[in-house]
Amino acid sequence: MKRLFWLVVSALFATSVVYADIDPNKEVIPGVKRGDTIIVEDPTGAITNPDSFNIWTVWAGGNGGWSHGLQQLAMDTLWLIDPDSGLAHPGEKDNTWHNSLAADRPAYNKDFTVMTVKLKKGIYWSDNVEFTSADVKYTVETLAQNPTALFGPQFKTDVKSMTTPDKYTIVFNLNAPNSRFHRNFTVRWNACWIMPKHRFEKDLKVATDLMTYNFNPPLSLGPYTLKDYDKHGGWFMWERRADWARTSIADFGKPVPPFVMYQLDLPNDKKVIAQTNHDLDMIHEVTPEGIISLAKNKWETNWFQGFPFGHPDPTLVAILPNNAKAPFDNKDVRWALALSLDITKVALASYKGAVTLSPLQYPPTGTSKKYYFDPMQGFLKDMTLDTGTNKAYKPYDTTVATKIGDMVRPTFGDAVPKDPTRLAAMLGQGWWKYDPKAASDLLIKAGMTKKGDQWYKANGEQFKITLFNWGTGNPTLQRLGTMVAELWTDFGIETTALWAQDNGTRYNLGDFDVNMGWNIESWGGNPDISFFADSMHSRFYTPIGEVHNGRNQVRYKSAELDKILDKVNLSDFNDTAKSAALGLEFLKLTAKDMPTIPLMSYNVMSSQDNTYWSGYPNFDKPYANPVTNWANSRYIFTQLKQMLPPKK
């Protein structure tokens, strides 16, 4: 019996070795070899209408899937901004800015009512038709006639008319001054992609047919075309165009992998298994536990090549108090909530210490260190609050990175640097002090009293908070919310962390105390704040009970902020120094007002397998965002090295 048992185990093991074998010649799909294919995760989840490649509707790909290779490999638009440092390329000093289909940066007239764009020559659709200004004009006109299309309402509101003086020039006449109109055609995560006029004119009888159009097979303006896909939406295979040099990616060189396959619908455990079995080269995001497990393998790389693993997304995770609801409408209360948080505990509970903290209303990533975080250090160190008992209380703490480093070193060992500068670059330069005494003073200043170990509002009611938390879909942020609730409860504010399906709807309506998530996302590579701050202008302010439009669901309103945003709207986007100066004004104002309690960048635990491909971006070589669903991830494919070419 024993002999039989060991025989079975040995047979299983032997078979497993055969199965787990690294084989560049095995086929991923018929005719496509593993060694020629990079397998990339698309985190969208399986999509229900995979037959649709109409990226201009909100239903693109079903359940919101734009990122199964369509926007990364086949679509293109006028400009891209890299969220990290970008790659050197001809015609631009700023690596983060790429004139993609445009030949140059956008050119506005003096009052920003006309935008002229020169287009590149020699760019071709995958059916051998040249891309021209007629495509751009057609795209805007078609979308403007479809109010449920992405960018449709924007173009309808903003564009008065367009002219195409020649095949390579398009002029937009705008209804009102708008120095940021080009934003519609500038990719951060995505943007308005250009339509192939010759194909759409043939397929759409009227412009509104766009809403029910499948665009299948999609015509490509990028370096890859669709080869095959799963009819259940589980995977999409893209093949490099023979004429890739006639696409804008040629500015960076040849995309290396002949085939790119996007794999969808991968739960965390399966991602880890698939990458360990060398069946998944690029993981978009995995849990901290997952990446800790993967990082033990020699073939694995991640952004920091070890602790703290994750790429800081240009997205700011924050606690979002309802500024229109008492007592959160009081700045002192918001500050008290911030100072009653022990950020080291929050960091450990959420990302196991692998965080990049931000005390500012701005994500600490990309070029933000240069434009904002370094210049703001002096201001933050000198900034004072009136706590009621101390007129010049200094809330800034520059020791948090060191504290977190010391706490996680027993777990991660030498992977946690001791050099404070390197540690600060990884974990953040500082955050607000954990100071329950100062927080108590601020609550007393706001008219509250403490009875026993609980805080009571001026009207005698107990101060309780319902914190909208994340669900199990994002365990990292869920743990973060739970820890915040624990810390506030310990401080004497009874806090319930609640996840409910209608959290989002209630948040939009202003029917909440405190939410947790993000409302600030930056370009990453550019200091312009318009991307997220537009919605904060008081002209878009909506009172509680009305659905909010945009990103200011916390309902922050400030005349001073309006002035800054008006200046942004009438300043030249290309004047980076001016953009950064206005950004600093915004950061100083919001640092004092604390409309939301900024915590950290959304660190994306991306993991790469270097068995078949290597050369991925990382902290020391930050040429692109390693997060695979961003359109900018297209640049990565030009920088890879094929490690195991299959036999021809």
Binding site: Q154, N190, T505, V547
Partner: protein, 343 residues
């Protein structure tokens, strides 16, 4: 027993009554599933907008306002609940569940029909296999309760039965996809194959991919049936007629299959009917763990995305499935049990 004998006048009455009941259950069930999502505070349009914003899309506040109005219109969320209800029955009568809200304008019915074969294939086969083998082993274990192998079978069943099927699925995934990677982790069949059920290579691929999910469902299901049948048989073997048959020297096989197990079958048949009816809602976690594109995953995505049409579609199939299964079981009772026939 003749056909005429079985389907007499009483049976006609019984049949009509049961069909009427079934129709009522279906109408009430569908009405409830129509109302509940619409009473929930979540709004699919707001969810879509949030999804776009979280994805990092850059949309101007004024554009969002216009977009919201247009979406409410296109989703048919305008009008009173009663108007929506009347329209819904009108569409349903034509077999149209309307477009999926999240995969607009793709019809919800088409999406469901794409997932249905996977769920039926997986759950029908595993339910029937576990039912047959569970009852057979349970019958044997109950009748030959003193034999060593029946005690082992019982012990095994008792050990597996309390393990939730999804935990069992996960254990199989770790052991046979990770430690010993004998089975694929992704998808329901090899990538790039045409979904042609007449193609033996495709069938083999499906078997390879669905072996582990099927095994997890069969083993956890089998334990329940085995223990249930064993308990029933243990009671029946002490009945006078069984004792008499044994004393009379009737063959053991005949006693077991014709006297004991046949009498123990009724509750098991009811159980089978219920579980077959329930297959339309899928085995969510098994499908999720093994990447099977079935109804369970679809139902989950529909609920998370608040896709009214899909929620309705999956629920309708489930309600109709369970109701019809119960009806069929009720109609089959007279065949198995003469006592039902008499009444």
């Amino acid at each position: 027993m003749t056909f005429k004998h079985l389907f007499n006048k009483n049976f006609g009455k019984y049949l009509l009554g049961r069909i009427g009941q079934t129709i009522m259950v279906i109408i009430i069930g569908i009405t409830i599933t129509f109302i509940i999502p619409r009473l929930a505070p979540t709004n699919p349009v707001e969810l879509k907008i949030q999804q776009m914003m979280v994805s990092g899309a850059n949309i101007h506040p004024e554009a969002i306002r216009q977009f919201r109005e247009a979406m409410n219109d296109i989703y048919g969320l305008k009008g009173t609940l009663l108007e929506q209800y009347v329209n819904f029955w009108g569409r349903l009568a034509r077999g149209d569940l309307g477009p999926s809200i999240f995969s607009f304008p793709y019809p919800a019915t088409d999406i469901i029909m794409k997932s249905m074969p996977w769920t039926i294939g997986l759950l029908l086969s595993t339910s029937v296999i576990s039912w047959i083998f569970g009852n057979l082993l349970g019958g044997l274990a109950g009748y030959y309760s003193n034999r060593r192998w029946t005690r082992w079978a019982e012990l095994l069943a008792n050990s597996i039965r309390p393990i939730p099927y999804y935990i069992f699925a996960f254990i199989l995934l770790i052991v046979f996809c990770f430690v010993f990677p004998l089975f694929p982790t992704l998808g329901a069949y090899d990538r790039g194959m045409d979904e042609n059920w007449m193609n033996p290579a495709f069938l083999l691929s499906v078997l390879h991919h669905t072996f582990l999910p099927a095994l997890s469902l069969v083993l956890t299901g089998l334990g329940g049936w085995l223990l249930g049948m064993r308990a029933l048989v243990s009671n029946i073997i002490s009945e006078d007629y069984v004792q008499y048959a044994e004393v009379a020297g009737v063959k053991k096989k005949t006693i077991l299959y014709q006297y004991v197990m046949r009498n123990a079958m009724l509750p098991q048949i009811t159980g089978l009917g219920m579980s077959l009816g329930g297959i339309f809602s899928g085995a969510l976690i098994t499908e999720y763990v093994f990447g099977i594109p079935g109804m369970g995953q679809l139902a989950y995505r529909a609920i998370v995305g608040f896709d009214y049409s899909l929620i309705m579609g999956v629920s309708i199939f489930s309600i109709v499935g369970v109701s019809v299964a119960v009806l069929i079981v009720d109609l089959l009772y007279p065949i198995f049990d003469p006592r039902v026939r008499l009444n």
